[in-house]
């Protein structure tokens, strides 16, 4: 008799809550450095990240924003972009409330979409439309966690024209918008080997290792071999060059050969893994009391500026 969905979900939940004896590899921290490199490149191209409020409608109301609001919306935009797109020119940064119109002009040569991120600076609702078309997004700004942040939204807008392009926001919230012309990278297809490894719904240690090896071979084949590979019995560590990140090679190889295998493995092993415990010990060594959840440990590592390659 086939297992029902309810039984299968129950089995997964029991497994998730049961400590796993095996651990996942450490995530490559150089990806963070890669995002920072893009931020610098963007700033250098235009000389500075400039604030350009182009709303022409008289119902637009000026709002006060802070440097940290600009930093937050920029960070959200760059997180969206990651290594998935190339940016063109200087990003637009616009603040406002009411009817906010952002005139982006014609598409620059080589660009095909707009990377778009907005951050709410107060409660309210924001409707987004592009080139006078139907509503693209509807954002509710709320301080759900009571931490003084009101949320936001980011996406790529592909519906652009060769002539003038306009983003229109109808907002009852104060907002800051970041937008940049972009060319999105082609998403790689999964290799047959990765599909086969996932076919039975379980990733074994052998399949995990084989996936990692294919990922490493792909990187080497593209001229950006992984460095300092350490394959312990439970921890895989490696580093990659900034060039591997800035050229998008890491994304191409990772998604084709390893991403779904890695994701599946990590979901099943996140908090109890020895790699997370490795990071916890690293935090202790630096005088920081580590948290339990893996993502909280990651946050502590980021905020304390500790490079995992210096651990252990």
């Amino acid at each position: 008799m086939n297992e029902t969905r309810e039984d299968a979900l129950r089995r997964e939940l029991v497994m998730v809550a049961t400590p796993a004896p095996m651990a996942q590899r450490m995530k490559p921290r150089t990806l963070i450095a890669g995002a920072a490199a893009i931020a610098l490149a963007g700033a250098l191209m235009g000389g500075a990240v400039s604030a350009v409020a182009l709303g022409s409608n008289e119902t637009q109301a000026p709002v006060e924003i802070t440097r940290s609001d600009i930093d937050a919306v920029t960070a959200r935009g760059l997180e969206l972009v990651g290594t998935h797109a190339e940016l063109f020119g200087t990003p637009f940064i616009v603040s406002g409330r009411g009817n906010v119109v952002v005139e982006l002009g014609p598409v620059p040569e080589g660009a095909s979409s707009v990377a778009f991120s907005l951050t709410c600076v107060s409660v309210g609702q924001i409707a987004v439309s592009v080139n006078g078309g139907p509503q693209e997004a509807w954002v509710t700004c709320e301080d759900e966690d009571g931490d003084g942040s009101y949320g936001g939204f980011g996406t790529f807008i592909d519906r652009v024209t060769d002539a003038e392009n306009t983003i229109t926001l109808e907002s009852s919230a104060n907002l800051v918008l970041w937008a940049s012309w972009a060319q999105q990278a082609t998403r790689p297809a999964q290799s047959q080997a990765q599909i086969d490894a996932l076919a039975d719904g379980t990733v074994t240690a052998e399949e995990y290792d084989a996936g990692f090896e294919r990922f490493a071979a792909c990187m080497a084949g593209a001229g950006h071999p992984l460095g300092s590979i350490f394959k312990g019995t439970v921890i895989y560590r490696y580093v990659m060059s900034n060039e591997a990140v800035s050229t998008g090679t890491d994304v191409q190889c990772y998604e084709a050969e390893f991403m779904e295998i890695d994701s599946s493995w990590q979901i099943a092993n996140a908090d109890t893994s020895e790699s997370t415990e490795f990071l916890r010990q690293c935090l202790r060594d630096n005088g920081i009391d580590p948290a339990y959840p893996a993502e909280e440990v990651d946050r502590q590592m980021r905020e304390s500026g500790i490079d995992p390659r210096d651990c252990g």
Binding site: N2, E3, T4, R5, E6, A8, L9, R10, R11, E12, L13, V14, M15, V16, A17, T18, P19, T140, E142, E144, G146, L198, G201, T202, E260, S263, S264, I267, A270, A291, Y292, P293, E295, E296
Partner: protein, 182 residues
């Protein structure tokens, strides 16, 4: 065993204890999710994401009188609102769950399409309060504990939500809802 006891056991490494929490609240979370999303497949995803989020965010789970149910209902409402994001986070796991038997389960369906539509028109904060206080029958103080806000906040949100719902729900339905609340 209570949620509290099972939760403590699960946190100590007993995965089966988390399974018992799922057994206990699966049907209520499913019934609530039916109000939130249009298709059975979406309901299935909301239920799965709710329990997976329960474990992922286990340091911030709130218990009300020893029960995790109010927190699960709040989380299901959030999961329904951000279904695509949640589905992305757990994509691999959701993909390997079998589909639900297509035979309709009438026990989980009820005719409250007007209320469902009206609920969808509310802000998330108001939706959470209506879910807990009107649809699920928790007291204002229990809802306050589940949402981590002051009871006065619940009272004002509830009042605001009722005013908004009154424009959309027939008087007889709202009267029933208020009766359920008291």
């Amino acid at each position: 065993m209570s949620d509290n006891e099972d939760w403590a056991a699960a946190r100590a490494g007993d995965g089966e204890a988390f399974g018992r929490i799922y057994d206990r609240h699966r049907d209520r979370v499913t019934r609530h999710s039916v109000r939130l999303v249009p298709t059975r497949a979406d309901v299935d995803d909301v239920v799965a994401i709710t329990f997976l989020e329960c474990w992922r965010r286990r340091d911030s789970v709130r218990f009300v009188d020893g029960s995790v149910l109010p927190w699960l209902l709040v989380t299901a409402t959030n999961a329904a609102r951000n279904l695509s994001r949640g589905a992305r986070r757990y994509r691999a796991l959701l993909a390997r769950l079998p589909a639900t038997d297509p035979a309709p389960d009438h026990a989980e369906r009820f005719d409250d399409s007007t209320a469902v539509e009206a609920l969808g028109s509310l802000s998330l904060a108001d939706r959470q309060v209506v879910t807990l206080c009107i649809l699920e029958g928790f007291s204002e103080s229990e809802a306050a504990a589940a949402l981590g806000v002051a009871p006065g906040t619940i009272k004002s949100r509830l009042s605001r939500a009722k005013r908004r719902l009154a424009d959309r729900i027939a008087p007889s339905t709202l009267a029933l809802a208020e009766e359920n609340e008291s």
